[in-house]
Point group: C2
Chain length 333, copies 2
DNA sequence: TTGAAAGCGTTACCAC
DNA sequence: GTGGTAACGCTTTCAA
């Protein structure tokens, strides 16, 4: 492994200073065309490679945006990430991704690791953080965008929606079609905070619409998915008929519940309604189609990218952007 | 925007030199326990965050490993990523992730961007690359691991399996249970190269086992998922009964097909077998359970991480680690 | 057990 | 048009 070729090496060969090389390589007009051409040629010949690390160090600009997601394996979050990274691709900004695995303590460690890379902004999924995390971020004074939530005390910018309110549209829909006794199926307390908000929103909505008090059925620690919904429904069996509707924290959970209903000969939606959240692909493909809430995950990603661009350019940008959330009436309610 | 807290700031506050801070933060035994404790406490109070950019600059090691995935929203790849990043978490190595969106031209741009960050190694999902990509990588002389494939001309290390052979186990299973006329459902030519290998493997296996020549049904450009399987099956309707078995490129596609079969009154597996690939969660949760192939995605991630650790500690000669692949007999065959 | 000095490769700033 | 100098935050090396 030969020593790295630096600007100084190029400079010596050409017979100019390294400053001139630096300028020439950036195609700075103040360098004469001749010199520029010679420098660029010699750089090529010597196999010069630009050192991004040195640039980042010198300018104190890493070219990174740190992004946290609860999980990488979630169609909604993945879509937000995809949209954001597409929109950022041309700007030369790269995304430094970290997954919290739905653990708020993990978020703190993660953010510490991400901050060590000097990101120019921080995008966090979710609006709940430990006090230490909040302090860490505020001490840095770097731009922050919280997404997929509407935090009561935002750390900075927000691109999201109220999970509680979104759940209210589901409950309203069920109340409207005469369902009185609802149960909520989601993860245990603690891990999934957007899930917890949905639960709280559902319970509050049931009260608001004068339904019977809502039961909460625990499907296990986050993340909960198809198999957890299925396992929970299997445990209850036909006892699920004690309810008029099973309100699930997400579509995969709803799918799991739904499948077990078939096994136990429970007629959905005649005897029991089942609802999901997130408008995952499965909601539209499975039979019967699941009633759910569509969140425009792509728009969250794109809006976040736009906001980042505006922040970097010093242009004014709204503090909070709400994204639309719409009820998707399926065949399970 | 307050100025960043550096080791010098911590040093001043504690009343020691920044060298001592540097050592104390690394828990260097040569620093007295007292001093270490004080330094660490003050660092916390001041909200000190380690500057990895400076470290990378000073040591000329970026601390990055670049990883490419076809898509972030795929349970299998996500699991590999999760396992890899967990295993790497303690080593101080961070992952720089890029998604190719199943486009081989995109891979080239992506790798160029990733290489600009001076990664210490490159992990690529898949063993097919453009000639330019291959040259780019070889010119760099950095360690490479190709995963989820068994490339004929590896660029370096390999952690994977033969997609073609894996598909053969499915076809063998179908042949064994008397299915003679098979159709393959997958993405159009071009994008999904592991999918293409599975298709080729299935066709070759059908010939090998003396079955009728296999038809290929095009579900559209990659990535194909539930809805594409469903749309294709909807187009065919009961004409699917021209086949004894529908061999799908993945479980989600198989699920889409399966659901349509129910709609058209096709009895699976009596009249028609349907198989998937990848042992996704849905394969075990849906009814009937999908016959599939389990690939140990987690093991791929862990083995890759181990290999990376070995590479960083010395440079072993490139080698290939095969991961196990097992048939999961479900109720659709 | 602790500290001082040097330097990693680049660019901002100021001279000329 | 071009060059000299200093600095970004850290660790290696040597000295005390």
């Amino acid at each position: 492994m030969t020593a790295r070729v630096t600007m100084r090496d190029v400079a010596k060969t050409v017979g100019v200073s390294s400053m001139t090389v630096s300028r020439a390589l950036r195609d700075d007009e103040t360098v004469s065309a001749d010199t520029r051409a010679r420098v660029q040629q010699v750089a090529n010949e010597l196999g010069y490679v630009y050192d991004t690390t040195a640039l980042a160090f010198r300018t104190q600009k890493s070219g990174f945006v740190a992004v946290t997601l609860p999980s990488i394996n979630n169609a909604n979050f993945a879509e937000t990430y995809r949209a954001m990274s597409n929109a950022l691709a041309d700007s030369g900004i790269q995304i430094l991704l970290g997954a919290t695995n739905y653990r708020i303590e993990r978020e703190e460690t993660l953010i510490r690791q991400l901050l060590a890379r000097n990101p120019e902004a921080l995008v966090m999924t979710g609006g709940f953080h430990t006090e230490a995390t909040r302090e860490l971020i505020q001490a840095r004074g770097l731009p922050v965008i919280e997404i997929w939530d509407l935090p009561s005390e935002p750390l900075g910018h927000v691109v999201g929606f109220s999970n509680a309110k979104a759940m209210e549209t589901i409950v309203a829909h069920l109340a409207h079609s005469g369902r009185r006794k609802l149960a909520f199926v989601g993860a245990s307390e603690g891990g999934d905070l957007r899930g917890a908000e949905r639960r709280a929103g559902a319970i509050a909505a049931a009260e608001k619409f004068g339904l019977e008090p809502m039961d909460v059925l625990d499907a296990g620690p986050a993340p909960v998915s198809m198999r957890h919904g299925a396992a929970l429904a299997a445990k209850f069996g036909r006892d699920l008929l004690a309810y008029d509707a099973i309100v699930c924290v997400s579509d995969p959970v709803a799918f799991g519940v739904l499948n077990q209903c078939r096994r136990f000969g429970i007629d959905v939606p005649e005897q029991l309604a089942v609802t999901g959240f997130g408008n995952f692909e499965i909601a539209a493909v499975c039979e019967p189609r699941i009633t759910t809430v569509d969140v425009d995950a792509r728009q969250i990603g794109e809006t976040t990218a736009t906001m980042l661009a505006e922040i970097f350019e010093g242009r004014p940008t709204p503090r909070t952007e709400k994204v639309s959330v719409t009820l998707v009436a399926g065949e399970t309610s």
